[in-house]
Amino acid sequence: MTEKALQQEQAGTRPYYDSAAPRNRVADELREVLRYRDLVRNLVRRNVTARYKRSVLGVFWTLLDPLATMLTMAVVFTALFAKSIPGYPVFLLSGIVIWNFFSQASTQAMMDFVYSGSLVVQVYMPRSVFAFSSIGTHLVNLLLASIPLFLIAIFVGTPITPALLFLPVSLLLVALFTLGTGLLVSALAVFFADMINIFNIALQLLMFLSGVFFSVDAMPAALQKIIFLLPTYQMVTIFRYPIYIGQLPPLDSLLYFSGWTLVMLALGLYVFTRLSDMYAYRV
């Protein structure tokens, strides 16, 4: 603290806010999000409830929607892969559930921010609340989608083991990885609208390469090596293992993905806060 600032504080006149005060952008942003945590909570509630407000079944659609998608996919892909992968519906659905979380939460973080328009220009709030709230929203959706997933697992006869207790750890890692990704693409999408389309295409490609639908064992060895390097493949692995195999995820997958999580989170927070002074002009 400078001498002048110290004097001011002693005189009881330390400003509430000083634009010339040294900024630690990432720490400031996180502190503000914490202060605005009730806004994040309200945005999550809005996202979950407003979507189906006019329908008869209401919030049940959050449950029925993924169930219907999962069943459709299960029927189609089971016919293709059932012979090579035992307990295929559970293999597939565990992959789809975590993939949907990642792709939908990061996409919504980006879209909510880019189309928040009037909000960001007219009201002060930490800009990253949109990313945090879309992670929250899709965590709720994931929990709801887990209900049909586990019903199907029981029905198919997949063993329920204590390894499931590890899932919260997997989920925490995936949520942080998704947050980092969401912040990064949000920041870029404000400056380049093309980012929205590029990210969509990248997600589609990654979905097929990340072993959501089929086991990579069936792939050529050279391609397998590349796939193992994809963070999204390891993301699917650490979520799927406890459910489908009934064991803790392999340590190397876990460490490798944790490394990626740290990198993405740091990169996302850094880029997002570095550019944040510009959003009021651009959004």
Binding site: Y16, A20, D38, L43, R45, Q122, V123, F192
Partner: protein, 258 residues
Amino acid sequence: MAARNPESMRAAIRLENVVVQYPYEINRATSLKEYFVRRLKRDIRTSYLTALDRVSLEIHPGETFGVIGRNGAGKSTLLKVIARIIFPTYGRLQVWGNVASLLGIGAGFHPELSGKENIYLYSALLGRSQAFTEKHMDGIIAFAELEDFIDSPIRTYSTGMTARLGFAVAMADRPDILLIDEVLGVGDLQFMQKCVARFQEFQTQGTTTVVVSHSLPDIERMCQRAIWLHQGQTLAGGTAAEVVQAYSASTAAVPDAS
């Protein structure tokens, strides 16, 4: 909540040589490909529109301070800087106390949610806790005079009802500093009077107010001091009466088309 002792405070808001420049690229690249092609060709020309040009001012605690000027003079930008929506390009802003702004009243309302749900959402957007909103819920609904419609989705509300809801939420808490941007014309006369009464209540309790308005009589009546902004620069500053007089003299000479 540091430093809330009005006795020892010389200012509530202080701006030192604040400059705000809006970047705009004359030939803004709207796609990544275009951007990189231009970057290689060194063909990115960024221009800056100077919305505020070395504005310095000091607003005292408890004062009502007016800002006048023509459209595009930088009045709203000034409020946005104080509200921390825009970070100054150069210069320094210091604020003593929490700031509430009546900019974008009702921004963030969701049409499908009920009045009550929107109160929670908007109140949280203004940085208040859930507990605070719950405590003040009845008061907000009563102030907005929406007791009978509070559980209906606000897409069924009239414009006036929506505005009342927004105001009621915004005014539920006395801020240290209140920013008002030409919003007193919203709603019917009766509701407006209620808002004005609430402002006055805030002021007697020590709230500092910054008012942007095109209505010179309002500025003269409400404010002790004022500034006149023109193309981002301070043309005049002083007592509200002086500044209003200087401004009217100039607009009488050059009729304002807007």
